[in-house]
């Protein structure tokens, strides 16, 4: 007899049980409405000049939604790519290299984007 924890622990190619599976769904659910908002906003801004776009980003609601969108996008991307590596990287070396590059990519570009948005928000 094995407990559910014992069955889950250490199973699956990620060795992480069901945590990533769940977070992938949670970020999907959060990203859907944010994506609808993002696409509509960007499409509406087409043709606007630089100043108009800056004013849009500086609106506190826009800033918060953009930061949430970017944060969820990169988190969702990170675990999405990890699942692909779990599926296809068939050597430990390839997988670890891939996971490292994936983490670095998502962390660096996610932070760069959020930092830039906050810089616009705080700018005069």
């Amino acid at each position: 007899m094995r407990t559910p924890l014992g069955i889950v622990k250490g199973l699956g190619p990620a060795r992480e049980g069901t945590h990533h599976w769940w977070v992938q769904r949670a970020t999907s659910a959060a990203l859907f409405p944010l994506t609808v908002w993002f696409i509509t906003s960007i499409a509406t801004l087409v043709g606007s000049d630089y100043q108009a776009i800056v004013i849009w980003v500086k609106n506190p609601l826009t800033t918060v939604l953009l930061v949430l969108f970017v944060g969820f996008v990169f988190y969702h991307l990170r675990i999405g790519v990890q699942v692909i590596l779990d599926d296809y990287a068939n050597s430990r070396k390839a997988k670890l290299t891939g996971l490292f590059l994936n983490d670095a990519f998502c962390l660096i570009f996610g932070l760069l984007t959020i930092f830039s948005i906050l810089r616009i928000f705080l700018g005069s």
């Binding site: 859907f32 696409i39 087409v46 043709g47 630089y50 970017v70 996008v73 050597s91 760069l112």
Partner: protein
């Protein structure tokens, strides 16, 4: 000794390509494309924060026909991945697995993706006063 070269996941080479397989593969490919496409968003935010000159460079690249093509592909991938993601969330509740249901929801997602992608672009061109 386990064979280290054995394939880990879908043995693509042993199945005849079907509609649902293509959609499933496209979900991942679109996801990866969007992952690379985030770089456009990164550049957009950095250029916007840097000032009008840096932003003009970004804008110049994006309005170029090739830039537009990439953005069109980005829009298509985003809408497809989003709509097909809803399909996956429904499947996660244990519903919609019947052969006919899978085919119908797949066709619906493809049709909506094409429709919405075109709608977004027509709307954007109207916003820019080009239509």
């Amino acid at each position: 000794m386990p064979n280290k070269k054995r394939p880990l996941s879908p043995h693509l080479q042993v199945y005849r390509l079907g509609f649902q397989m293509v959609l499933s593969g496209l979900h991942r490919i679109a996801g990866m494309a969007l992952g690379l496409g985030t770089l456009i968003m990164v550049w957009w935010a950095m250029a916007l924060a840097s000032g009008a000159e840096a932003y003009a460079v970004f804008e110049g690249v994006m309005v170029h026909p090739l830039g537009r093509l990439v953005l069109f592909g980005f829009t298509f991938s985003l809408i497809y991945h989003g709509l097909n993601g809803i399909r996956h969330l429904v499947w996660d509740t244990g519903r919609g697995f019947e052969k006919e249901a899978v085919k119908a929801s797949g066709l619906l997602v493809v049709a909506l993706t094409v429709l919405l992608t075109v709608a977004v672009w027509v709307f954007a061109y109207m916003q820019a006063g080009k239509i």
